[in-house]
Symmetry: C2
């Protein structure tokens, strides 16, 4: 590695996907930790919990009952952050000049889904075989496809996919009346990442606006494409596969790397090797390859500190409503942001300096990748049955 | 209030200081919470803890002993994130084209201080009278002044201040050999914000680079100034003082508001009313006014849920090494980012959607301001000793 010196010195690294810098202080892991300890999941969970609002057959907060679903189940969040219908808001009319500059607001509508990964209350993605994760990926794909605009550049592709994917139990996944702009699929796993129910599930928030992070990435990727005539993530995948310094795992379709610009201690990104613009671009075989990648990441995470590893993850892909150019610029990838740093109970806090000045990390992404490479193999615990 | 509707509907608000948007979902507080509970500080702390590395007279990690200091004490962090001396790094020489674009790094040097607020182990800023907080502000001012570049536009101002401020116990606050670019003063308070020692203290990280957040703010403020011929925060203070919708408290020199664009549930910002570029611009009287503002914020925070309220706070001001224009653009302010949302034990998690898509908040800043306005008065607990 030409830049061995980066293992020892404080330096900044540039995130070309967001256009921002972070601080890396490799020697800092030596400091003792006397602060908060994370509570590892203590009780063994039951396979079915009569009080869980996600288990099959149970009643939810607002009275609806879950079906006796067999793999995934999707429904509209009973406490959605955005809704399809709300009062109108037209700020322009009543605003003086300075307020129009400094008190800017815009209404947001949309729909939020909850999607369970399995009827079993006591498992996680790490416990599931790739073939069990496949229905999750198919459900993501079908929901994404069914929310694309009528004139979307990927519309034909989406219709083909829709007809080939088996329907799981999806509560209310009809197309919303008003076309939405972006679909954010994400999972909060573990109490440390704000998850309030251990039943394996993710969320899908679909909004009339393009959120900040995918928005920034699209701008950066478009700029790179127009400057260099090549895709940013195509170049990045090629570079990483060639250098093998930050690669954790790969198959024919995806590579898992601790990105050069990782902020979270064991942050990884799953990137498509070919130009996949969105879930609907994946072939049947590639869907399985994606399931394998998700399996590898989550199992290695759990093996690392022999614990149910907390993280937030999220997929970035083409907007639901977009131009030909935006679709072409999009490059399918999935981020994992896990907080644990040293053990099952000691996490990294992204707080004072990180919030006020700039993100700071302690181990290098190269060190993190080496650790994750070496903890493949079977899940450290028996499959919870 | 003309925009009452914003109390009910999901909307985005714009942060003109950073140029980014956040999602506000006022109805979302109704959802039940079954997730992680924060552990409130259980044990009553002793006034002096023989095992604390910040208490007067005690020994620190690398062998140094603290003096028997009387108000503040400053020393170089034994586990600094950046250091003054390190190996050289010259990436340019050995880089091919794509790596130069996608694997960018730059070395960072600097110095990190720890600064205790009081010799007493068991108090916090909320327990201290404004007159006891004044020495903290004077120490911040002296450290800032002593790190300014020789040709800094505020140099004369700094020298005047240095001669008028009484010296507290400052371990190693001599001027670093190499001029540094920015000084970030910040406090992590409480275990929930990654603080590993309850002894009241803050940190000061001083770097050869301008970090992301103050950098973004300077760009945004410069743009506003050139577009409008007025300072962004001057206009904002005027607007808020006039509207009185988000103001929590004010005196002659400072206003405390829950900003229009607040992300954290009870986020506030202390903003100078006149054009203060940095700590050294404050007169003796204004320093006391600043101490009062810090006291008001921290006491109201503790009163809100009758707990020792966790937060991260930080000061943004003119860089240590800057042009006349950058100094003129700077407008002194202090951010407070507190995580608690509903009670002493239920916090807001900024996780999946927030990290992958866009920050999301549940109560409006107007609602937060109303709550903070109404919990002034004496600290809910007796002054500890
Ligand atoms: O320096 P401390 O207090 O040990 O560490 C704390 O503050 C730092 C600066 O915000 C963070 O990087 C650490 O994650 C946090 O635990
Ligand atoms: O929707 P949930 O799981 O109740 O809530 C969790 O995820 C949301 C989206 O990241 C966050 O806004 C919440 O703070 C978090 O607790």
């Amino acid at each position: 590695m030409p830049d061995q010196v980066l293992d020892d010195i404080s330096h900044r690294r540039y995130n070309p996907l967001t256009g921002s810098w972070l601080l890396v202080s490799p020697h800092r892991t030596k400091r003792p930790w006397q602060g908060q300890q994370e509570a590892p999941l203590k009780n063994v969970l039951p396979e079915y919990d009569p009080k869980c609002y996600l288990c099959p057959g149970n009643q939810r907060a607002q009275g609806d009952s879950n079906p006796l679903y067999e793999n995934t189940f999707t429904f509209v969040n009973d406490y959605s952050a955005v809704k399809e219908q709300q009062q109108e808001y037209n700020p322009e009319i009543k605003r003086d000049d300075i307020a129009a500059l400094l008190l800017q607001a815009q209404p947001v509508t949309g729909r939020c889904y909850v999607l369970t990964f399995s009827p079993k209350h006591d498992i996680t993605l790490a416990d599931m075989a790739a073939s069990d994760i496949l229905p999750v990926i198919q459900t993501w794909t079908r929901i994404y496809a069914s929310h694309l605009s009528a004139t979307h550049p990927l519309r034909a592709q989406a219709d083909k996919t829709l007809s080939s994917i088996p329907a799981n139990q999806d509560g209310e996944v009809d197309r919303p009346k008003n076309q939405l702009r972006y679909m954010q699929i994400f999972e909060n796993k573990g109490a440390a990442m704000g998850c309030s129910n251990p039943h394996p599930h993710c969320q899908i928030w679909t909004t009339s606006t393009l959120p900040e992070e995918p928005g920034k990435e699209l701008v950066q990727m478009a700029k790179y494409l127009s400057d260099n005539g090549r895709h940013l993530l195509a170049d990045y995948v090629r570079l990483e596969v060639e250098k093998q310094e930050r690669v954790v795992w790969q198959n024919d379709t995806f590579v898992v790397v601790c990105p050069w610009w990782a902020v979270w201690p064991f942050e990884v990104i799953i990137i498509a090797k070919r130009h996949v613009r969105a879930l609907v671009d994946l072939t049947d075989e590639e869907q399985l390859h994606f399931a394998e990648a998700v399996q590898e990441v989550t199992r290695r995470y759990d093996n690392l500190f022999e614990t149910s590893f907390p993280y937030s993850s999220g997929i970035h892909q083409a907007p639901l409503d977009c131009t030909e150019e935006e679709a072409e610029t999009s490059w399918f990838h999935m981020h994992f942001y896990p907080p644990l740093l040293r053990s099952a109970t000691v996490r990294k806090f992204l707080v004072g300096y990180e919030l006020m000045a700039e993100p700071q990390r302690d181990i290098t992404p190269e060190q993190a990748a080496a650790r994750l490479r070496s903890c493949g193999g079977k899940l450290y615990r028996k499959l919870l049955k």
